[in-house]
Symmetry: C2
Subunit: 411 residues, 2 copies
Amino acid sequence: MYKELNTSMRTILTPGPVEAEPRVLRAMCTPILGQFDPEFTAIMNETMEMLRKLFQTNNHWAFPVDGTSRAGIEAVLGSLIEPGDRVLVPIYGRFGHLLTEISERYGADVVTMETTWGKVFDPAAVINEIERIQPKIVAMVHGETSTGCLQPLQEIGWACRQMNVLFVVDAVASIGGTDVKVDDWYIDACIGGTQKCLSVPSGMAPITFNSRVEALLLERKKIERGLADPDASYSTGLGRSIRSNYFDLSQLMDYWGPARLNHHTEATSMLYALREGVRIVLEEGLEERFSRHRLHETALVQGIKAMGLELYGDPACKLPVVTCISIPDGVNGESVRAMLLEDFHIEIASSFGPLKGKIWRIGTMGYSCRKKNILHVLGALEAVLIRHGVDVHTGQAVQAALDVYHGEKPQ
Amino acid sequence: MYKELNTSMRTILTPGPVEAEPRVLRAMCTPILGQFDPEFTAIMNETMEMLRKLFQTNNHWAFPVDGTSRAGIEAVLGSLIEPGDRVLVPIYGRFGHLLTEISERYGADVVTMETTWGKVFDPAAVINEIERIQPKIVAMVHGETSTGCLQPLQEIGWACRQMNVLFVVDAVASIGGTDVKVDDWYIDACIGGTQKCLSVPSGMAPITFNSRVEALLLERKKIERGLADPDASYSTGLGRSIRSNYFDLSQLMDYWGPARLNHHTEATSMLYALREGVRIVLEEGLEERFSRHRLHETALVQGIKAMGLELYGDPACKLPVVTCISIPDGVNGESVRAMLLEDFHIEIASSFGPLKGKIWRIGTMGYSCRKKNILHVLGALEAVLIRHGVDVHTGQAVQAALDVYHGEKPQ
């Protein structure tokens, strides 16, 4: 009565989800192992080891939360925040608002500071605010896909460490596409995303946190009802315990640690996918991978400029894996996107809030970030804009990108 | 540096996760579509339609939560419970404790009632308690995998409806393996599991809820910061809003409904897997599928008895997809399980809490529930028990199961 799945083959150049690596898709076909099968727990341990390398950290704790990226963010913030805790969120795009929203829901006294969309914060301004309001936590986005900006973090991290403030970073969009140096930047807890530069489908959120975070989690730890030994006593009151059961990192530590206490049933196939995705990243090499992302970004940017379009955002803080383009006056951005999808099977993105209808966003992330796609999108965008009556410099975009690839205009 | 995934092929006869359907694994290899691609939103809508049939309901709302089964439970309870709400949880095994734990964490005034593990509640006892304590919600497990028991629900559901109490049912273990009649049993919100009788990997939790639940959710609804139109005003205070952002069913309704408001990024490959798993269930037919589960359960039970082992639990309320066996005196249950896994590549389960070390549990769920596996586990268990010095009736278990399959002793 229902047919087999039969989908179109898209070229996905949004800031996520992007095309999954074919080897990752294949890894998901691997038959299931039981969650406490020694072969499976060995895969869990190995994945932790690989995630440490991805996050450039010596932290012991590095594992995925079984949910999409914001599940990882909620697990970290929800496990750290106690009602009334002060949290500083510097906002420079849509996802800073999400950090605020989640923190508020867990009862934090949230203080926000905002800067113009399309720019990032001067670290000194953030540090001044930390000194002034003395928060327990600073929560910040590293790569804002909504505006295509990348926030420098090291100075802020160092200041947090000096003032004994916890520094939580949302690196969902940047992990695997550009440097995320958890230890060097003094990040206490960091959340990555799978469906962007790792080219693993959405559904898991790799996180890492250090011993400062662990100490706080252990203070709030509570063994789950029905799991404690029959004779053991345990608190039944809420007390300081973490509000969510699913996102309780203290319980997840017991699931990912040697105790192997039953919590959720690990999402087997997604773990296989994550392991394969990170394996491919490490096989390519972090530096080599980041260089590849910069090369294709350059080709795309040169092509967009050659066409006569304008980039949106401050180039000094451009996120190398997302390129934002101002929609020319009088052009219906959604009509352009629809034609790209329908006629060329290419997906690019629009944006949110104040940028809705003002910019297009093209992601160059992970497996989607390759020459074939860059040349394809430039040619297609030119054709669609001509069809929409836009006066573009015809024939130049693809040539400019080819120049970059052929090394004639190295950036 | 890291090798490709290379796992053993296990026969998984636990109460989950069980072997994934090969067609489900294959569906996960389907390339990604963007989350707002019309082809993908059509798949989302179609999956909702298929889930309604699975849950035997006319509810509009039927969609997966992106997380493991307990994510679905937390989404339902966490979206309904406001601090101080009274919740009644009748407990007859480990997962009743989980419902209690989650409800407590969301600030409920939880009242529990317990019955001996291995039995279920007389509906009249539960109804008396509802009348006495007047809860807002009754939360109950349908199939308790920890004890292998199945709780009749219809009378309790009818009583809840009469008294205007919300009836929330955890059908994680039963959905797709035995009847779960959401409408006929007056269930207001129901949570299913993927990794058991649907034979889809863990990582999604299909749920359904009716208009009584929807009305309550709409009262607590709040548009996410950063998504509201720039000019719109919205409350920033917590108020009655739902505590979790990730599990906020009022926001998930806007993601799964025509508004298509951005929330998480739907877990594409897991949705493909769920759609394929439910498609296969509907293709087999619910009645035919439940009969198949009963046939293999009968063969297993006859084999276990013929071997001279004792079943655990009250046969009157046996969960047809889990068979519990008392571990013979003096036998180390974990040693038996380890030998089954190492020598025969078969996984069976132990249990929790008061049943730890006392019983083995064999699941007959979904794709794992087939003749090959039943005959294999009976032969292997006999061999392992002989090796452990247990005085079993040799050679009889497999014969008893074959008798069932050959129709000589129809049950």
